[in-house]
Amino acid sequence: MIARLLEGVPRRGLAALGALLLLLLVFPAFASGYLLSVGFLILHFAFVGQAWNIMMGFAGQLSLGHSLYVGLGAYAAAALYVHFGISPWIGLGASVGVAMIAGAVLGFLAFRFGVAGVYFAILTIAFAEFARIGFDHFSWVQGSSGFFLPVANYTTNDLWNLRGSPKMFYYLMLAMSVAAFVACHALLRSRMGYYWQAIRESPEAAQALGVNVFRYKMAAVVISAAMTSLAGVVFAFYYNNLFPEQIFHISRSIELILGPIIGGIGTLVGPLVGALLLTGLAEGMREAMLQLGVEVPGVKQVFYGICLLLVVMFLPHGVWPPLARHLGLERGAGRREER
């Protein structure tokens, strides 16, 4: 199994990944509280970016409403915890279930009735907006006034109830990101992965080769939704407050896809590189400006805009593919090279 996963992955790539993992593992020992929260954010975006990438990067279905699954996952687990004291580890089953159902309904409507391309993207936005407005009036989770988890100053880490220090959350997110990376790597090399890529490149040709396009597109949406909802669970227990206006907002959907776009759509390493670059640089810049005593509201958004602009202009396939070529790590790192 493991031998099979490693097959064809260049040694140097493996070594680089190992080194990165080691760095991420020891990072909390040196990081301040602030840096640790930046680290958590980077991993969070790497994880959701990876999940989004399954739909867009692998199967070619553009979702601009992934905040829907983050939000559903967050609310489901948080509500079960607050109302019934159910551990998030059990609650995440509900999160995943709800997200999968939402994804399946969306996918069914779109793919059964031939909604594709831009129209599909608009449909994903509509679903997220629908959830945002719906949750604003959902009194079981306090509607628009926000849903709060009990915060206590825990000196011990209670992993079972996800109550603990940022360090615990950092390591949890790290474990999830590693798992997502490995899972996506395995998916990409499975029959499903081949079929997804075939659908992305040409649905007609894929269908002529016996691929049930509807079924595999559905699978992409449902798997992506399930993964994304897990990030929502952690999000809820990390921040302890949920507002429909924030968590389901389209700006969240956009924010989470910037990483994979800048890193490299369809690549395995892209979402990670993108999250590192974007979140790392944006937070670093904000911090540097604070040190200098300048505070400009919205500077992060402007920075995101500039990054996106530069990447689209000069690296249309993202930062990772050309970087991988320079480092000689092309194969096994996941590809979508220059056309």
Binding site: R189, S190, R191, Y194, Y195, Q197, A198, R200, E201, S202, E204, A205, A206, Q207, A208, L209, G210, V211, N212, V213, G266, R335, R336, E337, R339
Partner: protein, 242 residues
């Protein structure tokens, strides 16, 4: 000979334009049949109805006795029909090997055995040395070969070839002809091909069906068809050299 494919009186209109009108023909098992006719005669429309891209407005298509009209393309493919596209549709971002592996995965769950099979097919079609190139890097003749390789990877019993010789040089064309002959002889694959390159059609086809304005105007052996006055008038013309 039993019929592998039986097309009975199929018709198709696009917004009032009658592309195919009551076309009927048979493809006997183990044979090679050519479908010829001038541009716009409805050849590709026929293919699309057989392959399940769209259902015929009227008429029936039977594959080995089973009615398949109205099936989805993936169902038709799974039933044993491989097709190529006249306007090639490679998976551009994937390598040549990956392209063919997608086809091979229809009959095998296991990626590595599918890859092995894909490799064999690439060798057969002379694409072996290009297996690791991206499909987008291929020349047009190679893309046509890739179309064939992908279709073959699904292990079809009936192969629909839509102008795979177009744009090939005569020697390349002869190579392809040899490949199809071999596939037909050694593996018993039945072939229905749309072709404008008469050199290839005459060399391959045991029977020829001629379409004109969506109707079958002649069918028979190549020798019969090329002497048919209606065919000469509508398609081949006087000066055709065979």
């Amino acid at each position: 000979m039993s019929a592998r494919l039986e097309v009975s009186a199929i018709s198709k209109s696009f917004r009032g334009l009658r592309a195919v009108q009551g076309a009927s023909f048979e493809v006997p098992a183990g044979s090679i049949v050519g479908l010829i006719g001038p541009n716009g005669a409805g050849k590709t429309t026929c293919f699309n109805m057989i392959a399940g891209v769209f259902p015929p407005d009227a008429g029936e298509v039977h594959l080995e006795g089973r009615r398949i009209d109205g099936w989805r393309p993936d169902q038709v493919c799974a039933a044993g029909v491989g097709r190529t596209f006249q306007i090639v549709k490679p998976f551009s971002g994937l390598t040549v090997l990956e392209n063919v592996t997608v086809g091979a995965l229809l009959r095998s769950n296991d990626v590595s055995s599918a890859q092995k099979r894909a490799d064999e097919i690439l060798e057969k079609l002379g694409l072996g040395p290009k297996r690791d190139l991206l499909a987008s890097a291929l020349t047009l003749p190679d893309r046509k070969r890739l179309e064939v390789a992908r279709a073959l990877a699904t292990q079809p019993r009936l192969l629909l070839l839509d102008e795979v010789m177009a744009g090939l040089r005569p020697t390349e064309c002869d190579q392809m002809v040899a490949v199809f002959r071999e596939l037909n002889r050694a593996e018993g694959i039945t072939i229905l091909l749309i072709e404008h390159v008469m050199r290839a059609v005459m060399a391959l086809a045991q029977r020829i069906v001629v379409l004109h304005h969506g109707e079958v105007i002649a069918q028979g052996t190549p020798e019969e068809v090329v002497r048919d006055p209606a065919v000469l008038e509508s398609y081949l013309g006087e000066e055709t050299e065979i």
